[in-house]
């Protein structure tokens, strides 16, 4: 019994140690920041010490992978007990839901701050950073996402090919370099149901299709059907077998393993493709603007990540100082050459950027930025966007599975269009009520 008691005593003592909360230190303001890992946080970390020293603000920076970051933010915000001051998020995906629930602080009165130089962000698509239903800016855009075409320069040289400019040339190139017998495939684009939507959107618009027209789903239109059929033919015939679960990570994996000759995907892939630690073909990567379809080239231009202030923050001034730093020119110059181009116009003349980027990459960006398109978002503009993506993605997956020849494709797309209409109705934004 004595032994048991002494064990209990030790346990209790340990417990009191363990359960005691942490102690407070330092007098200056302290803020808590939730951010995503990868290049953007590498950029923040690079200059964070400098920022803390100059501003006297202590930053508790917490980094998470993308899905975990969203889960953490939503859980904390929903309980109303969050101690977050500043957070990163994807406005395309979450601006609607987050602002509806009052999780986004309007930034209007801050934007005049001369240190920010808001005019420098004129290339940022205003719709994507405005709080829906208001004129208020809800976040500072950090970097854009556009679609580019990556290709293997050695393979193209071997066959004497140029990067394709339109879809006919694209199919020609695919036919020439596709070599399944030797486990080499012409092209990879996303095939995973949910991940594919934005990468498929330039194809959709290139055939004159679109997600939504006049407040109704346009997915059953002739242009949308042609586009889906083409996407299915392209990937069904010239992409590797695993394409149906391929999201962004498989794109780099396929290219870096030398399995495919071309990848059409987001600019963010670039850093991994040219990293000699990740790829044996790091010095054989060519970049070009995407080929044009019958109705032109339609890369999206998304605000892929942005930084926002939590309205419950007890230290908004310090929070704003940090936001200015994250959206500032140092971090911008750090991430831009890594495939995450800042929206700051001044970044392109920053010598840190000029010296770090290859001419074809700069040219590809210039060509892409010159495009005018109404596919700015690369997504259906509606409240239930993720659900709609899944619904339409299902039909695209079927098209890939059947190499674009599936007899049920037309029917599936009509069904999907009807379901999307239902979603529009469910949120009271169908037809005339469409307000995006």
């Amino acid at each position: 019994m004595k032994k048991l008691l002494s064990v209990l005593l030790v346990v209790l003592m340990a417990a009191s140690l363990v359960f005691a909360g942490g102690s407070k230190e330092s007098a200056g303001p302290r803020i808590r920041v939730l951010s995503m890992t990868a290049q953007i946080s590498d950029g923040i970390l690079e200059y964070l010490d400098e920022f803390e020293e100059e501003s006297g603000i202590k930053v508790d920076l917490e980094l998470y992978g993308e899905a975990e970051l969203r889960q953490k933010e939503m859980t904390e915000f929903m309980t109303g007990n969050s101690t977050v001051d500043v957070y990163l998020f994807s406005p395309l995906q979450d601006m609607a839901a987050f602002s509806q629930n009052g999780w986004i602080e309007p930034l209007d009165e801050y934007l005049d701050d001369p240190e920010l130089n808001w005019d420098d962000f004129s290339s940022a698509p205003p719709k994507q950073i405005t709080i829906p239903g208001t004129d208020s800016i809800g976040c500072l855009p950090l970097y854009s996402s556009v679609q580019l075409m990556y290709y293997r320069t050695d393979v193209f040289e071997k066959y004497g090919l140029e990067p394709p400019k339109d879809y006919d040339e694209l199919i020609e190139v695919c036919k020439k370099i596709n070599d399944p017998a030797n486990n080499f495939y012409a092209i990879a684009c996303r095939g995973e149901r949910n991940a594919l939507t934005s990468q498929y959107s330039p194809f959709l618009f290139a055939f004159g299709g679109s997600f939504i027209k006049d407040g109704k789903s346009n997915f059953a239109s002739e242009g949308s059907y042609e586009a889906t059929k083409f996407y299915g033919e392209l990937l069904g015939n010239y992409a590797p077998p695993g394409i149906l679960t391929a999201g962004y990570s498989q794109m780099t994996q396929l290219f870096n393993s030398g399995t495919v000759g071309m990848v059409i995907d987001a600019n963010a892939l670039y850093a991994t493709l040219v990293d000699p630690a990740e790829s044996a073909y790091a010095d054989k990567v060519g970049v070009a603007a995407i080929p044009a379809g019958p109705e032109g080239a339609h890369s999206y231009m998304q605000v892929s990540w942005a930084v926002a202030m939590y309205p419950g923050s007890k230290n908004k001034e310090a929070a704003w100082e940090f936001m200015k730093f994250v959206a500032g020119s140092d971090v911008a110059a750090y991430i831009t050459p890594l495939g995450m181009p800042s929206f700051r116009n001044s970044v392109w003349t920053d010598e840190r950027v000029e010296s770090a980027m290859t001419p074809d990459m700069v040219q590809a960006y210039a060509d892409t930025y010159a495009i005018t398109t109404n596919n700015e978002f690369g997504l259906p503009r509606m409240t239930a966007v993720t659900e709609a993506r899944d619904i339409m993605g299902g039909a695209v997956v079927y098209s890939i599975e059947t190499k674009g020849q599936g007899p049920e494709l037309k029917g599936m797309m009509e069904e999907a269009a009807a379901e999307v209409d239902e979603l529009l109705k469910a949120y009271d934004e169908y037809g005339e009520n469409y307000n995006w």
């Binding site: 019994m1 032994k3 048991l4 209990l8 346990v11 340990a14 417990a15 363990v18 359960f19 005691a20 909360g21 942490g22 995503m36 890992t37 990868a38 290049q39 590498d42 970390l45 508790d60 920076l61 917490e62 980094l63 998470y64 992978g65 993308e66 975990e68 889960q71 953490k72 859980t75 904390e76 929903m78 309980t79 007990n81 969050s82 101690t83 994807s90 962004y248 990570s249 780099t252 994996q253 870096n256 393993s257 030398g258 399995t259 963010a268 892939l269 850093a271 991994t272 000699p276 630690a277 990740e278 790829s279 044996a280 073909y281 790091a282 892929s304 990540w305 495939g339 995450m340």
Partner: protein, 276 residues
Amino acid sequence: MEAYKAKKTIGKIIFYIAVAAICLVIIFPLYFVFISSFKNMADVYVMPPKLIGFKPVFAHYEYIFKTQNYGTYIVNSAVVGIFSTLFALVLGLPAAYAINRNGMKNSLLGILVARLLPPMSFLLPFYFIFSELGMVDTYGALILSHMVLSVPLIVWLMEGFIAGIPRELDEAATIDGCTRQRCFGSIILPMCKSGMATSTILSFLGSWNNFQFALILSGPRTRTLPVTLQYFVSGADIRWGRMLAATIVVIIPAIVVTLLLQKNIVSGMTAGAVKG
């Protein structure tokens, strides 16, 4: 006699071959990850894989040790794992004994219910409760939440093991004037030490690898190892090399701690039994 010996030798050989084959299936993927973490990813995709004699690359490890504070995370994971298991044993062992000896099926189910609930149902309520108590980003919140999973595990397994110990032993002891608690401590526990070692290890590893609770309830001060694995899977790309290196870094302390646990628990309990 000769034939019998030969048969026995052949049996032994077959036995060792079988064991070796099984170990190979288990170890090969881990070995593959281990060597891959020292390769450029480009070489990882080369088939057949080069299993030995390549030039090791340390870049992945350099990066992850630069960005991650593994020393702290290992301490955090160990503190949470050890204390949640310890407390769960203190609560669970007596409960398992009493439940078994008195056939308290409803209490058993009551304790087990937490294990049946999908972990997602806990996330929002737990964050709410622990933030109201100001306990987010403390060891306390993590330990309590992990105990929700390990107490049922321990009670459930130990109830089964204790069932295998004849009741006559208890009865004999109590007739001799031994109290129930003494009987439990000096007779029952020493008799199910392999069961205890097993549930301790399972409970510890369950906590060590818990991801969902750790994600929601930990913070910069208490971040545990599984949460750091996600560091290399971002929206933009997966850095496989770094991910694999991190996998190795996370598993090594688990192996060490498990070995220590196994050794100390078994020897500790044997010593206790001899003395008691």
